[in-house]
């Protein structure tokens, strides 16, 4: 056998050229192979042309107007402009908002550009599709522009429900259109998968960043959850269409031989300019599946015993005011619901020690409720009684407010309210109640109700019903801002679209809890959606079980629980499949859209089946 070692040095060009001699293709065969490929591509295109020409006008329009890259190329026969467009344009017009709204943004951020950089596939639609689209646009651009402008105005200045519904309808019709295109042989599975994935991804992306403007979904989940689900749906479509595989992902982000993350994977994900928003959403999609698992476990402590426990352990100093205001709301609701009263021995001991050390309990804060609950006696707080008396006598002619009512209640609980002061109170209420509006009006009305009920003025209390209902409606937010949900606010504002959203006062749980207490006493106005209130309160409990009164969010959580317990007494939550469906409508809507997209993708023929 010849030795395989070499003693030849590669000094000549010829030596290097000859190194590849055995590997070179025969020129004639190579050229023949090229021509065969060209012929095959031309035949494929001719069959595409034939399919395009044979397709119904609606699909020819769709193939022309939908994003470039969807249709696997079609040139050729002319004269495709329809005459009697009429009702056939309806699905097209409906499809436009979704495409225009999403693809314009997507196009701007490079979506169409990336579609054009295809996998070595033939470049896209020329010829007849462009001519058809151009002709259609010339004839319909005014109508389309006006329609789209109206749609945007609806969202900007009116309720966003109409906008959302139209977009949703548009997306559904677009997906159905994609499916029809595929069945007509004008789109293959991979391209349908990319189109549906883009629809889902961009809709989720926009939902994620504009969720505060969209109608709230009373599901109890954070509003971004449905956006994340759409993101997962987009990824699912890519897998279903064979566009994405696990190996591909691995190759993109992992150097197996170097055992390290591909550097660009990190920078692409985190740092590229405009795409940082995209990356943030992508991160939310990835982490959302994990994060939402914890959020699903919320709302496990909507129980009276939970409230009792924290009221009994309440530890704010008696000189504080804000925390006692909330304590008052919760403990009064417990005192009035007929259930087992909390054990205030611990509170009594602590308060006693503070009073003994010289601390004063103000009637604007802890005083009245401590007297109401019997935690302290009048003789222990002489300063409180005197301050209340002074306030009642000096403010009986002033505007009716919560401070006056607290002072009256203090005197009543201390047994110090004179008949004259009682009469002044009822007269003050009769004449001043109509003037109660604006900030803290719910609290004032609630306080007036408590006081009058305690004084046995039932008839007067009933006469407040119209005023109470009017104030409830004035503070009712409805299903306005998604992140704040449907509840009550401190200030009375009118609902409107996106432009005035920022002028709304932040919804707060104190007002909502007060509103629920009022509705429990006076009944709920028909316009108030108690189901939405219930779910908004549940959303406010996303932090889970509160453990301390110190943190504001924990106190808010307790107020939410108090309101929920009272709400359950006012209007027990309906249980049934339809109510559950309505409760989770955004999520079901997102899942329905995903299922449609997957269906359209999987029904589309593969590219090799089209050839």
């Amino acid at each position: 056998m010849t030795s395989h070692t070499t003693e030849i040095e590669p000094e000549s060009e010829g030596e290097l050229l000859s190194a590849f001699e055995s590997l070179r293709p025969e020129p004639g065969e190579f050229a023949a192979g090229v021509r065969a490929r060209i012929e095959e591509a031309e035949q494929r295109e001719e069959s595409q042309v034939a399919r395009f020409a044979a397709a119904p006008e609606r699909l020819r329009w769709a193939a022309s107007i939908l994003p470039p890259g969807l249709v696997a190329g079609a040139t050729g026969a002319a004269g495709l402009a329809g005459k009697k467009l009429g009702f056939k344009l309806v699905p097209g017009l409906l499809a436009i908002p979704a495409i225009t709204f999403l693809v314009l943004i997507g196009t701007f951020l490079g979506g169409v550009h990336s579609l054009r950089k295809e996998d070595g596939q033939p470049q896209d639609v020329e010829g007849d599709e462009r001519a058809f689209a151009s002709d259609w646009w010339k004839r319909n651009r005014k109508l389309v522009t006006v329609g789209f402008t109206i749609l945007l105005l609806l969202a900007l200045f009116q309720h966003t429900e109409v906008f959302t519904a139209l977009i949703a309808l548009s997306m559904i019709s677009t997906v159905l259109l994609l499916g029809d295109l595929a069945r007509a042989g004008l789109a293959d599975r991979a391209r349908v998968a990319k189109a549906t994935a883009r629809l889902l991804w961009w809709s989720g992306f926009l939902w994620f960043y504009t969720r505060d403007f969209l109608p709230v979904d009373p599901s109890g989940y954070p509003n971004w959850f449905s956006a994340v689900v759409l993101g997962f749906g987009a990824i699912g479509c890519l897998f279903a269409g064979g566009v994405l595989t696990w190996r591909m992902i691995g190759e993109r982000i992992w150097y197996p031989d170097r055992r390290m993350l591909y550097p660009d994977a990190v920078t692409t994900f985190c740092l590229r300019g405009l795409y940082s928003f995209f990356a943030l959403f992508a991160g939310a999609v990835i982490l959302g599946g994990i994060g939402v698992m914890g959020l699903v476990v919320l709302n496990s402590t909507e129980s009276r015993s939970h409230l009792v426990e924290f009221v009994e352990e309440f530890d704010a100093p008696i000189t504080e005011t804000h925390e006692w205001r909330e304590f008052k709301s919760v403990s009064r609701s417990l005192a009035s619901d007929g259930g087992t009263a909390p054990d205030f021995s611990q509170l009594r001991e602590r308060v006693g020690a503070e009073l003994a050390s010289g601390a004063q309990t103000p009637f604007l804060g802890s005083g009245p409720i401590l007297l109401e609950l019997g935690v302290v006696s009048a003789s222990e707080v002489p300063g409180l009684i005197e301050d209340a008396r002074v306030h009642v006598d000096s403010h009986s002619a002033y505007r009716l407010d919560g401070n006056y009512l607290s002072a009256v209640r203090t005197l009543f609980e201390a047994g110090e309210l004179s008949a004259e002061q009682h009469a002044q109170l009822t007269e003050h209420v009769r004449t001043g109640i109509a003037g109660i509006s604006g900030v803290n009006s719910l609290e004032t009305l609630l306080e007036a109700t408590w006081v009058l009920d305690a004084l046995g003025e039932g008839e007067l209390v009933e006469s407040l019903r119209p005023q109470v209902h009017a104030e409830l409606l004035a503070h009712w937010r409805g299903a306005m801002a998604a992140s704040h949900g449907a509840a009550f606010a401190q200030n009375a504002e009118r609902e409107s679209g996106w432009f005035t959203w920022r002028s709304l006062i932040h919804l707060d749980y104190v007002s909502t809890q007060q509103a629920v207490a009022l509705m429990k006493r006076y009944g709920a106005p028909p316009e108030v959606d108690l189901g939405s209130v219930r779910e908004t309160l549940r959303m406010g409990r996303s932090k889970g079980r509160a453990t301390s009164w110190d943190d504001y969010s924990n106190r808010r959580d307790l107020l939410a629980v108090s309101a929920l317990v009272q709400l359950e007494e006012l209007a027990p939550e309906p249980v049934g499949p339809l109510s559950q469906l309505f409760k989770h409508r955004s999520l079901f809507g997102a899942l329905l859209l995903i299922c449609l997209c997957l269906f359209a993708t999987l029904r589309a023929p593969k590219l090799e089946e089209l050839a």
Binding site: M1, T6, E9, S22, V34, I38
Partner: protein, 169 residues
């Protein structure tokens, strides 16, 4: 090349560098030939979008290089990456091969061991006889840079083969 694109001339001028370029990216030579055919077909079908002058080597090279890059990316998604050792093993001569074939295989192995840029230049330049201008256009570098890389590569090959010769003796 003529003032208008001619398919046969295009193939003749760029076949070798393209195949060599694919091979330098780790593609087996058989598949590199297939990919090169795909590049020419793709280029011909989309020749209406070529905006340069047909006799402008740099423009044509850049155009073909772009197509080649896309096809290579698409192709690499569809196939399992072939370990370098396996690719080299396919180039090993049969036991009954002549000395010439054995030497050629040794040389190819030495070329595979070159640094990336030098290997790319050598394979694109020597697969079939071509010009440094064509190689430069495909790789997006200056012809002078190609010549410099070739010089370094030849020196390195000489050194490595001399070392192999000394080690085996």
């Amino acid at each position: 090349m003529s003032a208008t694109l001619d398919l046969d001339q295009l193939i003749e001028a760029w076949r070798g560098p393209l195949i060599g370029l694919f091979a330098a990216r780790g593609v087996a030579y058989g598949e590199a030939i297939e990919l090169a055919q795909d590049v020419f077909a793709e280029a011909w079908i989309g020749r209406g979008r070529f905006q340069g002058a047909p006799n402008n080597t740099r423009a044509v090279g850049a155009w073909l290089s772009g197509i080649a890059r896309n096809l290579h990316r698409a192709s690499s998604r569809k196939r399992r990456p072939e370990p370098l050792e396996q690719g080299l093993a396919e180039q090993e001569p049969a036991p009954e091969a002549s000395d010439h074939e054995v030497r050629a295989a040794e040389l190819r192995r030495a070329i595979e061991a070159l640094p990336d840029r030098e290997r790319a230049v050598v394979q694109a330049f020597y697969f079939e006889e071509t010009s440094s201008a064509h190689v430069a256009a495909l790789l997006g570098i200056a012809p002078r840079a190609v010549e410099g890389l070739l010089r370094r590569a030849r020196a390195r090959l000489k050194e490595s083969l001399e070392s192999a010769s000394v080690a085996s003796s």
